[in-house]
């Protein structure tokens, strides 16, 4: 996964305790490069999104934007209360294509003008494709994150836009799995927070509903489902927590590195290994080694229950070779003994 833009914010929100992630976001270049510089050897495992899924995503977007976004106009027409032909679309990739910073800044400038125009009652498109937003942090290294929703959709009630994202996941009946939903809610949360910040720049009275819109692809082919409105208040809060964590990590890395590159101080930073790291982070195995022989290595639940207890001590508590040091350990020992009896593990004599 990337450590730029919205993805970085989603990862921070999912694991705010990880200082290694903070250093990785501060380091220029790719995640793999960070790994190579820390570990000293090339990253030789599978990395990134599957090619087939990237292709599907790109094709879904291409279909959705084709013909002045005909499929999107049809999908959003009833939400906007208009006929599909009357929906006005502006694709900012037509104005400034590309992913380089100068193109992003040009799109940011246009997006800001359009947000303002809509608030002031001037003509504004109902759907903005590939708008650009920005989420500032405090001055210092990495003082902002670029956030680029796939869409902004004008709310018919109050002339504010809401973020929307296209998802090419195969879903049936417009429903998706809990894990996927949690991730896309965080994405929408980051987009909404950035949007709220943009409105706050010129109109402090603008009330932005804590909602975002998701458009999934139908299982047969790549046509969009009806848009689904998500409540993302929780996602916005999680992103705020993630940004606050990033500011703490940034401070700690800066205190340690004394002008050197962030990867040089990784050994002094605190990792926070969790199960999901194995699917999302190149540093997962490296961090896992640092909790080897400790309860965290058994997974998130064991880590939460046993804290940073070493496995040998937990085993000793279970077999009775080690006396519990306090009430907490006594409780753990009792549960471990119960578990051992259920699974026919013999106590030491």
């Amino acid at each position: 996964m990337s450590v730029k833009g919205t993805t970085a914010l989603v990862r921070l929100a999912s694991n705010p305790g990880c200082e290694i992630l903070g250093a990785m976001i501060l380091e220029p270049g790719s995640e793999k490069r960070f790994y190579e510089r820390v570990v000293g050897e090339p990253y030789d495992r599978e990395f990134g999104e599957r090619q087939s899924s990237k292709r599907r995503g790109a094709q879904f977007e291409q279909n959705a934007y084709a013909g002045d976004a005909r499929l999107l106009r049809e999908a959003f027409a009833s939400h906007l209360g208009l006929a599909p032909d009357d929906v006005v679309v502006r694709n900012l990739l037509d104005d400034f294509p590309g992913t380089k910073d100068d193109a992003r800044i040009a799109r940011l400038s246009i997006t800001r003008t359009l947000l303002k125009d809509a608030r002031e009652g001037k003509p504004a498109p109902h759907i903005i494709i590939q708008p650009q937003l920005m989420l500032p942090t405090k001055p210092g290294p990495k003082p902002y994150f670029f956030v680029a929703p796939d869409l902004l959709i004008l709310s018919p009630q109050n002339d504010v836009y809401l973020p929307g994202d296209l998802k090419s996941f195969v879903v049936r009946e417009n429903e998706l799995s809990k894990g996927d939903l949690a991730r896309v809610r965080l994405q929408l949360g980051a987009q909404l927070l950035a949007l709220m910040h943009e409105y706050d720049r010129f109109d402090k009275t603008a009330i932005i509903p804590a909602s975002g819109m998701l458009v999934f692809s139908k299982p047969n082919g790549l046509a969009p489902h009806a848009p689904r409105i998500e409540d993302v208040a929780g996602g916005v809060e999680a992103i705020r927590i993630g940004i606050a964590a990033f500011l703490r990590h940034r401070q700690r890395v800066n205190d340690l590195r004394a002008g050197a590159e962030p990867y040089t101080v990784v050994a002094d930073l605190q990792p926070h290994f969790q199960d999901s790291c194995l699917n999302t982070c190149v540093m997962a195995q490296w961090c896992r080694q640092r909790v080897a022989e400790a309860a965290g290595d058994l997974g998130d639940v064991a880590g939460r229950v046993l804290g940073d207890m070493e496995l040998s001590r937990a085993f000793g508590l279970m077999t009775g070779d080690i006396e519990p040091a306090d009430d907490h350990e006594r409780l753990i020992a009792r549960h471990l003994v119960d578990l051992a009896e259920q699974h026919s593990i013999e106590r030491a004599a």
Binding site: G67, R70, P136
Partner: protein, 250 residues
Amino acid sequence: MSEEIDIEALKLQEAALQRQLAELREKLAKAEKGKSRASEGGRPLRAMVLDLLAEAGYPLNSLLLASLMRPLRGRDIPSTRFGTLSNDEMKSYDSSRPRPVYLCHCLTYDQGQAVKRFWARSDWPLASRIMGPMSGRILFLRGAAWTITLARAVDRGERSADNPEILNYVAADQARDAGLAVKRGEFPYDDWLAEIHMTIERFGDEDRATREKSAELLSAHLSDRDQLFGSRQPLVSLPGSSAAWRSAVE
């Protein structure tokens, strides 16, 4: 032991064949490149785009231009090439040797800023290079109609194309994107064109009025250069430059 020797020999043979295949592919790629250059007489992209625009008579999207270059002229154009073309054209305009015609961009109706993916010719009136709220759709439909017309002309033997089959598929893609019924292997050019022209007529007058009104205003405010390449974007202040910037978590 003899089995081991055979495996080694097979490995050597495989390596030799792979080398041969790589050489063959390289030769083929060079030949294909040479052929497409030769068929265009090595014409630069700029000249080909100017010709296509003159033929179409309307601004065209760079995505459509790129997808037409292959079937019509046998040239594969990477999308980044249009970015370079835009910069080259601006440099050429700023140089001391004027050209009779420049490639330029469409302009937004309200700010006069460049819409970089839509290309036009400097010898067209300003109103035809302006994009109003509905112009994106009108220009898409006109581009689609033109592509279908090209495919029909090639099908009737009225003009030639490097790859007529691919041209038909580009035309069918345009028809599908316009929301028309498309069946595999069938190319009802006239039906497609009739439906597209009906949609253009529905929005055409309003769009033309917006563009003409905007052209009057923009021609009074924009320099000659900005009328071709767009007015400059306003400056954007990036966070981090001043301690007064507020964080999103404050």
